[in-house]
Subunit: 307 residues, 2 copies
Amino acid sequence: MSLITVGTMAFDAIETPFGKVDKIVGGSATYVAYAASQFIKPVQQISIIGYDFPEAEITHLQSLGVQTEGVEIVKDKKSFFWSGKYHLDMNSRDTLITDLNVLEDFDPKVPDSYQGTEFLMLGNLMPKIQLSVIDQLKTNPKLIVVDTMNFWMDIALDDLKLVLKKADVLLVNDAEARQLSGEVSLVKAARKIMEMGPAYLIIKKGEHGALLFHQNQVFFAPALPLEEVFDPTGAGDTFAGGFIGYLAKTKDISFSNMKTAIIVGSAMASFCVEKFGPERLKEITKEQIDERISQFVQLVNFDIDLV
Amino acid sequence: MSLITVGTMAFDAIETPFGKVDKIVGGSATYVAYAASQFIKPVQQISIIGYDFPEAEITHLQSLGVQTEGVEIVKDKKSFFWSGKYHLDMNSRDTLITDLNVLEDFDPKVPDSYQGTEFLMLGNLMPKIQLSVIDQLKTNPKLIVVDTMNFWMDIALDDLKLVLKKADVLLVNDAEARQLSGEVSLVKAARKIMEMGPAYLIIKKGEHGALLFHQNQVFFAPALPLEEVFDPTGAGDTFAGGFIGYLAKTKDISFSNMKTAIIVGSAMASFCVEKFGPERLKEITKEQIDERISQFVQLVNFDIDLV
């Protein structure tokens, strides 16, 4: 079993109320790879980087079972760069700089060695790029998970709708679910979005947890209340990586197993925010992950005899 | 076993994106009484009303096991009146009118017949009034649950701190928990607030659910994702009424049973928002409550073998 993940590998500059980094490795595919490789190997990476992306980072990812044949290196351009500043509540942020650099030329080619892969994670990218990857696959994946954002709903809605027709699971936040559906009620929004294609919809609500919708069922996963949220950057991608990594490991895409996968993703995301960038993800152990998942079990566990 | 509830009985004018009522019965003690009386009788009401409060409402409450000896009727004044308008997201609202009327004179007297009661629900009121009720009780209640709001933190913090010293459970929302503690992290906020007195802290997050803190433990109860949120007015008081009503019924104030009580409170609140004012609470049956609680069980239930 293997997993293709498509997304950015980049540099971020991040300022939070607790500190500041001028340049740290980031990008959606980086976070997905660190999270997913805890559960499944190989993780087959598709991305684009410039001459400045650290070789040590690539080597480190490879040592975790991440294949990088699909990572294009552009010799005369810089890597994608994003800079943002978080507000005091850590729930909102301002983007200060977006330098596309290599991302302007991103036209991913799926390597032959990646063909036959059953799980596909499409990070938040221009819908045309997401479509191009799906179209290059010679066999249909067992599960396609798609992340997107309001920006693409604004400027590329028709393409996004084509992606949604092929998606099995869509990941959006609550504001995006409302925008995409035109419904305020998340229950109604979910119904409309599932009619657009994906059989499963995950609505991420940051520190308020996540909802999984499927047909008439709904599951709620809380976020773990944390002592310190140091840097939320990448938490959503880490969640996605843990989610699809766990599904690929267990080879079970039932609603029941997706509920578990969401808890796993939430646990991984709870580590991500504890340090700047993907630093915390690099050091966690299987035992720490199990311990964190146990905390989620405790967090929502209650007994009831009906009243 | 019985329960004293202290709070307002009032008229509300409410505008939501889904409709408008010019005058409907409301008030914290009204909602608490409707919710708690599903679980425990008698509910011993302490409040103040004017000449205009409908006698039929009082009679209806009495038929549900609500005692009204502690409800003072002022013959020459109007009942408390609140008017508000909800924003499209239903999470925020503007207060348009607050006519205190009888509330200006509220100096509650605990009737002799209420003495010996083991559960006390102090609705959101001036802390001095909350203190006065506690001081009038000849035997210490088994459990004192206190609701309050940012307004009292602004203008009567010293009195509020005296109340907190005597409270067992404090109910606040997330912004209020942050204001009261001066901490952004809810985990840190909870620790500081529990040092002020209450052994248990419930942080209400509206459509995002509620957190229960006790010592180093934390429990998360989701809100049920609803098709329609018609009118959120009174949802917090209904939650409180279900919570303390269930505790009084089961006579068990352990952390474990409080978790269950929070689910019960959340279920009751999920009914409250389905119609204007307390209308929906007046018509629900035991079977519907059990059915709704089952939905909460489904909502958070997942299986996991550690990964």
